[in-house]
Amino acid sequence: MDPECSRLLPALCAALADPGQPVADDTCLEKLLDWFKSVTEAGSSLQLLRDSPCLVELLLQVPQAPGLSPRVLAFALRLAGLLAAQEACFQFLQQGELLSGLFGEAGPLGGAAWMAPTVRSGWIQGLRSLAQHPRALPFLAELGALDTVVALQGDSSLFVASAAGQLLAHILGLALGGPAEGPPGPPACDWPASAQAVVGHLEEALSAATAPRATQALHVLTTTFGHCHRPWTQGLWARLSPLVARLLEKDPVPAAHPLVDLLLSVARSPALSSDRGWWEMAARALGSLRPAHAGPLALGLLTLQDCPQALSAQAFAVLLQPLACVLKAAAQAPAPPGWPAGPEGDAAAVATLLSSRSACVGLLCQTLAHLELLQPLPQRPAPWPQAPLLGAVLTVLRFCNGSAVPAPGSDLGGHLCAVLAGCARVQRAALGLLGALYEDAGPPELVTQVFAVLLDYLRSPDSSPTVLKKAFQAALQWLLSAPTPPGGCAPDPPAQPFLGELLPVLQRRLCSPCWEVRDSSLEFLTQLAGHWAGQAGFRHALLASEVPELAWQLLQDPESYVRASAVTAVGQLASRGLHATPAGPECPGGPQKGVLPELLGVLAADPEGFPRRAAMQVFARWLRDGHAEAADAERFVARVLQAAGRDLDWEVRAQGLELGRAFLERALGRPGPPCPDAAAAPEPAAPAAQALRAACRVGLPEFALRALFDCDRPVARAACALLLLLRDQAAPGLSLPEAGPAVAALEAALQRWRAGEQAQPPGPLEPEAVLAVLRSLDLEGLRGALAESSDHVERNPQSLLQDMLATAGLRGDNEADCY
């Protein structure tokens, strides 16, 4: 601890122990604890106490001080725990009965302060920190803390209840803790008393008739097995698993959700998962849990690396059960080939569930989301029933838009019709899964159906904007996966007719009065153009449609998000030669000016940040890809930097620096990968001096130097990096030139920029002047300073202690202020 802190600490401790003083806020106390934690981790707590006796004094005073704020009380408890985590310090504090005074009956435990949840939480956290060494166990036993902790599991404050559960798990771990390897610990009868006591509580709770008690015990066990994989956990599981199994025999299974968590936590524990009995219990649980809870368990089991084949098949059948019901309701036929057979009883349970609206929607959404998670995993069930799954998802989607015809005489079908029609939640979930299923494609007739259903959704005026966005995403994924013949002129059917029908739909969606729809349509167009621009058929269809022109018109949209997406889309189309041009025979009523002036206009004049940022991104990509609009790179970059330099949005300025960097790299002969459609070949490598001159011509140094003193740190950091690159590349060995009038003027401008003024340097900068300034600046030092977080000055402990003392001392001033 530095001397200044040692000097400030006694005053602070005195202020904290004084009930009359205003208390620093929770954040300060939390920071103070963090600091103490780092101090005790770095050295001996005992030494800390000896150096700062005021801390002991504080801990002694706290239990006795009446009217002390609960926050300070909680702080003292947690501090004591932190200090007592080291055995030597524990002994030192215990000699003075200080710990018993704080955590025992004499402390807040018995008093009025206990009513405050903060104090209860501090008490638990203190004990949690303290219980790090074997001596802590007798101490806890002596205090009788265990009963209190058990009772606190049912506390009205969720934080306290959860912390109590974790403390119990921690005590259990400490009591039974043995070597990481070796035999599975002592037999249960030889467990230490505290372990016996905790396990006794757990047993009692698990056998209790009430679900909340069982839930508490299950939480403790989940934490224990989740964090500790030592051999003794096997003994614990062996002792408690019969009780857990008994929970599964009840109908309905109580505390089903935490029970699933426990089973999965056991499954993931390397010490326990080899237990055969456990796999049997998991199989039983799959059978006895309600579908809403069996689903998460099934998913958890399927994501395990070493799940036995039979169990994994059962889990998959459980997971697919709701979809099986949907298929059955629509077709009345036996399950399609490749569909895992599920037990009939479950099907009935799911059928009853599906007949209620909220349960049905919840269960279907859960199932669809689970399958979406499972689909990309390597350990997903094999063979993966792609075709029936696709069929099921399509059926769900058809039920949702009212086009599914239920099987004749199927009650469930009628119910599904009524419940799912227009249900956006299920639509989103189903479209999400449909999008994820693209990888494995499927039989061509099903793929045709996929495109047909997607088209229905994209066309339907009833699709909500969020559903439409999902439909666009799914359509894009399926289109990208559609095989294209080697000639590359058009995608194979069925994607080709889909593309043909898609453009009129897109056209209409781009005219939607709902801005979210216009926005996602533009995003879709951007991605579509990015992928298909090379296909002649697509190019022809797109250019024949009004889509490019509509995208162009949306640059004037009243909604800034739409304008931003329109900028991106137009940039993408332009870079692929697909934009609406005035000369183009395809677009007679096309725009009157080019893309670059239009986007520069957006950059210069748009009142919102998003479109301007989008424009900068387009420019940077054009430059990197060597696009035609950026063929005259110097003129292009100069114009963009000129517009971006005055921008109020820091991201635009930062992207200006990105553009500058791309330009510099290009000038230095390190261009990025050229675009296949590049109109201009990259310039030949130029010597560094030429690059510097080019940079000066476009005004890059001026832009970067001004940005160096930007009040937004990311901009300043990027500018610093760019200038370092420029200096290191352009003048590695040049000697310092003489200071001329140009250098003096530039330095004067720098001074003013540093002071935050909006000054202009006199005329364009000369390369020599730039170099001189670059050398005179301590760029490395600046980089270091900028790398520090902005609060690094305020974050040191000294400042914290001063702040807290200042708060404590404020009382008098405040009184004077009030009248």
Binding site: G402, A418, V419, D462, R508, C511, S512, P513, Q553, P558
Partner: protein
């Protein structure tokens, strides 16, 4: 209580309710789908239409058969729920001997008048040189091509009414305000409630002291321009008659508005014209409002919007003055002060122009591409006919159907072949089935009565079990020309008691909280109100013929025997009998009570819950003795 169902059209209802000696007609909608069987009436001579081959009848004679379900001259009042449901009013008030009153809100009357005037104007300005009615003969009709051949009851088809008849019909309307209570002959009270569908649209409550019938017709829960629907007042109904749900339950109005504007923008951008066949009031206000918000963002500021109707000006201006009938937001604007609807601004900025017809100013201002709102949605008459003829040949143009009342394919039939694009975005803001089921859960009527179309899924979507009313008990359905006996019995009637009579009563408490008193009074009934008045005092005996005659009128007031109450405890009764010297008493239990058998006296005493009989052989002394013993156990008052 009976309901006579005169219309089979669920959104254009016409029902007659007989309730407590009143005859109330609920709405009189005019089903105009039959106009689809006729050729359009062109404003400008159309060679195409006039050159169509005529159909001539060889021979035959005409007869009209009338199937009258109810004599409409007996209808006491007509309650109108919205302006679309009053279009048949002149036929009823002017041709049936109707002498009652019509009740409707002010906006309903004013806008209904506009709709009628527009209709009359559309028809009368294109007079037909000749009219044919011989074809209505069933034998002739049989020979006609489909769909005329299959049209039902063509004999009931009528010519359009005249402006004079409209005025006369409207003069019989009495204006009412929401929640205003109107007494009908003292028997029932009717109250209009806001239904949220259109300006001044109402649901009606028809109630007596102990019964309540709610009539829900054309209601909406969406936030559009009218005042929101009043649901709370519909609670505790014995019967809820539910009509006028959305005609397109699968189309969500929001989605349709989106579709409308997308299609409009696409067409106009391509240099095409957009034609919107519509009524001059209603959804057009909302469309214009959406247009106002959308016009600039879609780059449509330079496109002219035309609204052509004989009543266009009145409709736009009327909408701005009915502030108290509008939703809260629009009401608040009036106090700023601003016009509640933004179409005022569209007109000011010359973006929206309105004309009474295509003749006159319009032809000078007409500029293309443009958007035209005009009637009639059936495409059979009105200015729309001209635009269909004008624009139908170009595929650049689009006709967008927003009114759900007519099948757009049938409406387009006489214009085929047609090159212009057709978009169908029916916007119907009336309740859909999900909203109905929520409403019924909330309101909880004892019985629901609705058209039979609502009790089964639409025929085209037989699997959509969600597209029907689902409630418990299942709704009673009606079809055209059916008479329903409504499923509840009237049990109580309210009777007032005069203060002096009430004062004379002497209640006796027979149970804690329940007191009884006997009343002797005269029941006086007038105007369906019942009053108990004190009986006239017997006149002092005096001579003279005149007096005597008066005495004759006074009803006899006999001295009444006291009323008995209470029950007889059998065991105690037997003990009392024994005390009074009866022996050999046997008691038998029966299903209704007990029989006490006095074997010696050969006498039976039957004691039941509501009667006691003493059966003995002509021994009046014994009977009186026994009677007195029985009476000891009963209370008298």
């Amino acid at each position: 209580m009976k309901l006579y169902c005169l219309s089979g059209h669920p959104t254009l209802p016409c029902n007659v309710l007989k309730f407590k000696s009143t005859t109330i007609m609920l709405d009189c909608g005019l089903d105009m789908t039959s106009t689809l069987n006729f050729l359009p009436l062109p404003l400008v001579q159309s060679p195409r239409l006039s050159n169509l081959p005529g159909w001539s009848l060889k021979d035959g004679n005409v007869f009209l058969d009338k199937t009258e379900l109810i004599d409409l001259s007996t209808v006491d009042v007509i309650l109108i729920s919205n302006y679309h449901c009053m279009m048949a009013l002149p036929y009823i008030t002017e041709h049936t001997g109707f002498t009652g009153t019509v009740y409707a809100t002010e906006p309903t009357v004013q806008i209904g008048r506009l709709l009628m005037e527009e209709l009359v104007n559309f028809i009368e300005r294109v007079p037909k040189a000749q009219s044919a009615s011989v074809w209505k003969n069933k034998d002739v009709q049989r020979l006609l091509p489909s769909p005329l051949k299959d049209a039902v009851e063509v004999s009931t088809w009528r010519r359009c009414y005249s402006l004079q008849e409209v005025n006369s019909a409207l003069s019989k309307i009495q204006l009412v305000g929401y929640s205003q209570k109107i007494e009908l002959f003292g028997a029932v009270q009717v109250t209009p409630l806001s239904s949220g569908y259109a300006l001044g649209s109402s649901n009606w409550i028809i109630q007596s002291h102990y019964e309540k019938v709610s009539y829900v017709s054309g209601s909406s829960l969406l936030t559009t321009h009218p005042q929101p629907m009043d649901q709370a007042s519909l609670k505790n109904s014995d019967v809820l008659v539910l009509t006028g749900l959305t005609q397109i339950p699968t189309a969500n109005p929001d989605g349709m508005v989106g579709e409308f504007f997308s299609s409009l923008a696409l067409t106009v951008r391509n240099g095409g014209n957009v034609l919107v066949p519509c009524y001059p009031s209603g959804v057009i206000y909302d469309l214009l409002e959406c247009l106002y918000q959308y016009i600039d963002s879609a780059g449509l500021s330079s496109i002219p919007f035309y609204f052509i109707s004989p009543v266009a000006n009145s409709s736009l201006e009327f909408s701005q003055i009915f502030a108290e009938w509008l939703c809260h937001n629009k009401q608040a604007k009036v106090y700023l002060p601003e016009p509640p609807f933004p179409h005022a601004e569209l007109i000011q900025t010359n973006k929206l122009k309105h004309y009474p017809s295509i003749h006159g100013d319009f032809s000078n201002d007409f500029r293309q591409p443009c958007v035209v709102f005009t009637g009639h949605p059936s495409l059979r008459f009105g200015d729309v006919v001209h635009f269909m003829e004008l624009w139908g040949k170009s595929s650049l143009n689009t006709v967008i159907f927003t009114e759900p009342d007519f099948s757009y394919l049938e409406a387009l039939a006489p214009y085929q072949p047609l090159a212009m694009k057709c978009i169908y975005c029916p916007i119907d803001t009336r309740l859909n089935f999900i909203q109905v089921s929520k409403l019924l859960k909330e309101v909880q009527p004892l019985h629901v009565v609705c058209p039979e179309q609502y009790t089964q899924p639409p025929p085209a979507q037989a699997h959509r079990m969600d597209l029907m009313i689902d409630c418990q008990p299942p709704p009673m359905s009606y079809r055209r020309a059916e008479v329903l006996a409504l499923p509840f019995k009237r049990r109580y009637e309210k009777i007032e008691i005069m203060p002096e009579l009430a004062d004379s009563l002497v209640p006796m408490e027979i149970k804690p909280g329940i007191s009884l008193a006997t009343v002797s009074a005269v029941l006086h009934t007038k105007d369906n109100k019942h009053v108990l008045q004190p009986p006239p005092r017997p006149a002092p005996p005096a001579g003279g013929k005149k007096r005597k005659r008066v005495n004759d009128d006074i009803p006899d007031c006999k001295v009444l025997k006291p009323l008995l109450s209470g029950s007889i405890p059998v065991e105690q009764f037997v003990q009392t009998l024994e005390k009074h010297g009866f022996s050999d008493i046997k008691v038998e239990d029966t299903s209704k009570g007990h029989i006490v058998l006095l074997q010696e006296a050969e006498t039976l005493i039957q004691i039941e819950e509501d009667s006691t009989h003493i059966i003995c052989d002509n021994d009046e002394m014994l009977r009186v003795r026994l009677r007195d013993l029985v009476l000891k156990f009963l209370q008298k008052f």
